[in-house]
Symmetry: C2
Subunit: 354 residues, 2 copies
């Protein structure tokens, strides 16, 4: 039994793997692999439509919000967002809560002015800034809702009169938010929603077409909306696996139900971190992520031993990112609570034995 | 038995489907699906390296040519190529041999001047222009080596003193060319090389960094080269399936061996088209594609009947593109000669019976 705590690409439901593997051999009794299906076939078009429609349903999106599955990963969105929303003389407000946020800032500067309205960089991004002001004339405010590397998460989305743009790559579909309050949401699929190779974009269509820049065809969200996310050959298999994962999420009761489980998983692990004298959490408590739990050992000399011990129990993917050190356990939607219990027990047992 | 003549995404070797499906369930006896593997793991890094190295080997690339697997499909390259190679005052020469070439032209105009040096548009792209001149000061000459929709192919790559850039999406790895004569080659994987969702780029590193434009990080080929094609999370599964397909190609004897088979397959089908009084090829003979064979029936009223008849034999994907009509049989690397024989026999039998 393997317990997969990978930060991403990461665990997906077992039944999704089984359905995906079967479709690679023979999809829908067609005698063909899903990998050799034309994307314009009725069969695949219905996969794309079901995936988009499940996103709308699970996120309770209103009619202004369009759902796209695009190539390129969130790193492409760092560029595509300002390319579509920001003229050179315009200014956008960005929050600097980690490496991914700071990468988004860097790319926005290619297209317009950027005001960094807050940063937790000085404390190695171990908290979410609360006190900051967003200039009225900012075209939008950009946040990274969950910071995979550091294990922090915006528990409350900042109230703002500006247009709100969010990178939700590492907590999409994990908790209930008022998603209609966002004008643009993007997320690489490879945490809670599917395999790598596809990007979810949710965009309020009313914010598009307001700038003067000529936008290359493949970068203009409006073209993707007009073509139903089929402007060019989509990443067929990645979209298919997203659709399977979204179906699974719906069958579990949707986002509210999975949030409850996610809260339980995170509470179990943070409780052990706080009670076990060998371990310490690395982030400010109130900003702790429910998705990525970062912790170190009070005696760093024991970390290699603990890692080895967890490996012997089938636990994989908990080595911390080099910029934080220690450990990071990612508790994405598909991770069963039983895996968290194995990790918690390992921490207890390790502390007792030494 | 299904005979898959899809234009793309299209047939891949059966053993690739089997290996891919197995890896989705349990990759390398890890107990994990390849879909839940981190891209920075030693296991996946070695997949990426093997895929890149197989491309170098199969295309006999010299040390100046770098191999990248990127997100986005060829439609992204339409933009990325001029963004990296063309300053606003520079001019590039483009050949207009089909819809894809003309899309590349449209995107290049966002970044510099474009001289369309030849076009076969007036004849619905049924031939490859031979007589044209490329201005000496063109930064590069762009060609589409194979035109999927119309069934034409450059049999001889034009001799030019300019830098040569090619979209090889639909004939990459299908025939031997002097690939080192190209400064940049790009190809969506979803014909001969793998599933959709990944793009092969082969670039002579010496042509990069010559322009003044500031290039967004994710669009700059140099960043991808520096990071070994792992600048951001790659489309893991698509790269893996490409690696499997490239392994298969090598085991078949490489590009020269597959070209021989491709020539045989195309010769069989064109012979039937030319000999069978019911059918006519739609392109000029000397420019016929070995990959996509386009033909119509002399009595268009019989086309629906013939299509129905072929479907009863397990033949799929031969309906022609709406802009050409009739039929298109795509004979990519993985299509067995036995499938071509079934189609040829169907044409013979149909003609005899009516």
């Amino acid at each position: 039994m393997v317990h997969n705590f990978n930060a991403g690409p990461s665990i997906l439901p077992k039944e999704v793997f089984e359905q995906a593997a079967a479709a690679v051999l023979n999809w829908n009794n067609s005698g063909l692999s899903i990998l050799e299906f034309g994307h314009r076939t009725a069969e695949f078009t219905s996969v794309m439509e079901e995936a988009r429609s499940l996103v709308k349903e699970l996120m309770h999106l209103d009619a202004n919000h369009e759902v796209l599955f695009l190539h390129g990963g969130a790193s492409t969105q760092f560029m595509q967002v300002p390319m579509n929303l920001l003229d050179p003389k315009d200014s956008a407000a960005y929050t600097d809560t980690g490496v991914w946020g700071s990468k988004a800032i860097k790319e926005a500067k290619f297209f317009g002015k950027v005001e960094v309205v807050c940063s937790s960089k000085e404390k190695n991004y171990n908290f979410i800034p609360k006190d900051f002001a967003v200039p009225n004339d900012s075209k939008y405010l950009h946040i990274t809702t969950n910071n995979t590397i550091y294990g922090t998460q915006w528990q409350r989305i900042p109230a703002t009169s500006n247009s709100l743009v969010a990178d939700m790559s590492s907590d999409i579909m994990s908790r209930v938010l008022d998603f209609n309050a966002f004008d643009l949401i993007y997320a690489g699929a490879q945490k809670n929603m599917g395999p790598s190779g596809v990007n979810l974009v949710v965009v309020n269509k009313n914010i598009l077409g307001k700038i003067k820049r000529a936008i290359p065809t493949i970068m203009d969200y409006r073209n993707h909306i007009n073509e139903g996310s089929m402007l060019n050959t989509p990443p067929v298999f990645s979209v298919f696996v997203c659709m399977l994962t979204l179906r699974w999420l719906k069958s579990q009761g949707g986002v509210a139900a999975i949030e409850k489980l996610n809260n339980e998983k995170a509470a179990l692990l943070y409780k052990e971190i706080d009670e076990n004298e060998m371990f310490t959490g690395t982030t400010v408590k109130e900003d702790r992520s429910k998705m990525n739990v970062c912790f170190v050992m009070n005696d760093p000399g024991k970390e290699a031993d603990f890692l080895k011990y967890t490996q012997s129990l089938g636990i994989v993917g908990i080595k911390g990112h080099r910029s934080v050190g220690g450990f990071r356990a990612s508790l994405y939607n598909a991770l069963p609570i039983s895996s968290v219990l194995v990790l918690v027990k390992a921490m207890k047992d390790f502390a007792e034995k030494r």
